[in-house]
Amino acid sequence: MSNLLKAEFYKLFHSRYFWGIGLFNFLLSSILLLDSYGETANLFLASLYNIPLLYFLTIVFAALFVGNDFEQRTLYSYISAGQERGCVLFVKTLVYEIACFVILAFPLLIHGLAGLLFLGEAVGFTGPVCIRTILIVVCVLAMCMLPLLFSFIFRDIGRTLVVPMVIFFLMIFLMNGEHARLVTSLLPMGQLRLLSLQQPPLSAVRFMVTDFLWIFILYFFAYFGFCRSDLK
């Protein structure tokens, strides 16, 4: 499995999509600060506020990094070379999640540092910073699992892009609907928004359990979609 992990990191490092989307995300996130800075307490939270909106970029990344692997049949070459399907899925998930986290969290880090250095802002979380940081990490990971699931079910670029994108807009719609409060606290995307707005009551445990459930359920379906079916 370590060889597979090394190979996937080599691919990620040489992926123009990763660097391109990462850079674009940083630029877009910085521009969106103009709007979100007024909604939140500081630059870091303003950047965090933008993450749910920038979720669509991880959907694009999933299509290009995972969906493309299926379309070019490169993922299959691992299996033909004797790698276990479960290992292939795990490694791909791990590297994809790390990549998504880097893409989404990089602006957060830069904006947070900028706020700290140039505006003299504190991180500004209510409650322990460590727990909030872990919450952000888990929320982002749970949020990015959805495109991954569809890439392993559809195994192409087109549907991996379109279906999660439709769900993305649906989630935004639901988060602004009648049961917004409930939906927002259940969806990782909404949880991030609540964290950025520091809206009470925020139960870290409930958030964490919900996110881990999302990760587990989506990974479970991806496993059965990939490990038990014939590949083209």
Binding site: N3, L4, A7, H14, R16, S80, A81, G82, E84, D230
Partner: protein
């Protein structure tokens, strides 16, 4: 049993509406080059996908080096190199980077193997050119290079010469033959270019409608596609009579386009020509020829309507 690399017993693959493989039984022995022949949809690629772990069988057993069961089979697949259908390549990467990904995932410590393998397939000087700018033939060569990267004991190639120019076809043929000779590599090639396959393989597996219809060695095939003297003449009946009376043979056959196939006197064509000339028979064509693998295969699958039938 030690020399058997692959053994399929009653191997079956069913899809929702069709049976792709129908209780296949076959053995692939070490050190031989197998040609896998079949029409489109005959089940060749399905069989190769089962062997390489991309698909699961609906029934029967598959053994690689005597090992069966999903986990053990997967472990044995590390000894295989393959290219199924199209080469699996990262278009944005260079040839070297593509090879590097495969080298890392296979855990091959020696980086020099990449240059060596690229040189073997004639892709050493592609530099920083990304694969998306490669021609079809170059992609095919790279696919073969990836399959050869781990110096596999068993090499599986699906349409390896597809898109290659004539020189490339000869290079690949020579490469495969030398790998077989030097390393004792067992090779299974599926191809539609039967003439090419005939020149490369030593054993042939004929598949049709999901069933292996024949396993035949090169020697047996040559026997069956027997060489003969093809005599073309307008006066067929007289020629047949002369052949019987003057040459004392009835080992001939008349085929549909008034060509006589004479299976004797292959080393004495001049005498045949002289006898016919003495009898004042106008011969418009006289040459040594034989059935091709293509004719033989079409005959086997009942596709002879596309070619001249000796019996018709």
């Amino acid at each position: 049993m030690g020399s058997v690399i692959l053994e399929a017993q009653e191997l079956t693959k069913e899809y929702r509406h069709a049976i792709a493989l129908d209780h296949i039984n076959l053995q692939i022995e070490k050190g031989k080059i197998y040609g896998f022949i079949g029409r489109n949809g005959a089940g060749k690629t399905t069989f190769l996908r089962l062997v390489t772990g991309l698909a699961f069988p609906s029934g029967g057993t598959l053994a690689l080096w005597g090992k069966t069961g999903m986990a053990k089979l997967q472990e044995q697949r590390k000894r295989i190199g393959c290219m199924i259908e199209t080469p699996a390549l990262f278009p944005a990467m260079t040839a070297y980077q593509n090879m590097e990904v495969q080298r890392i995932q296979r855990g091959i410590p020696d980086k020099a193997i990449i240059d060596k393998t690229l040189e073997m397939v004639g892709l050493k000087d592609t530099g920083r050119k990304s694969v998306r700018n490669f021609s079809l033939g170059m992609r095919q060569r790279l696919g073969i290079a990836i399959a050869l990267l781990n110096t596999p004991e068993f090499l599986i190639l699906d349409e390896p010469v597809n898109g290659l120019d004539p020189a490339g076809i000869v290079e690949v043929r020579n490469l495969l033959k030398s790998l077989n000779k030097e390393y004792g590599m067992t090779i299974l090639i599926s191809s539609h270019i039967l003439e090419e396959l005939y020149q490369t393989a030593s054993e042939f597996l004929l598949i049709d409608k999901g069933r292996i219809i024949e396993e035949i060695s090169e020697h047996e095939l040559n026997e069956r596609c027997k060489r003969h003297i093809a005599i073309k003449t307008a006066d067929v009946q007289k020629a047949l009579l002369v052949l019987e009376e003057k040459l004392g043979t009835d080992h001939f056959m008349l085929v549909s386009d008034d060509t006589i196939r004479l299976y004797d006197y292959l080393n004495d064509v001049e005498r045949v020509a002289a006898v016919l000339a003495d009898a004042h028979i106008l011969v418009t064509g006289l040459s040594i020829s034989g059935d091709t693998l293509e004719d033989y295969f079409l005959g086997k699958i009942g596709g002879m309507k596309y070619v001249q039938s000796p019996e018709s």
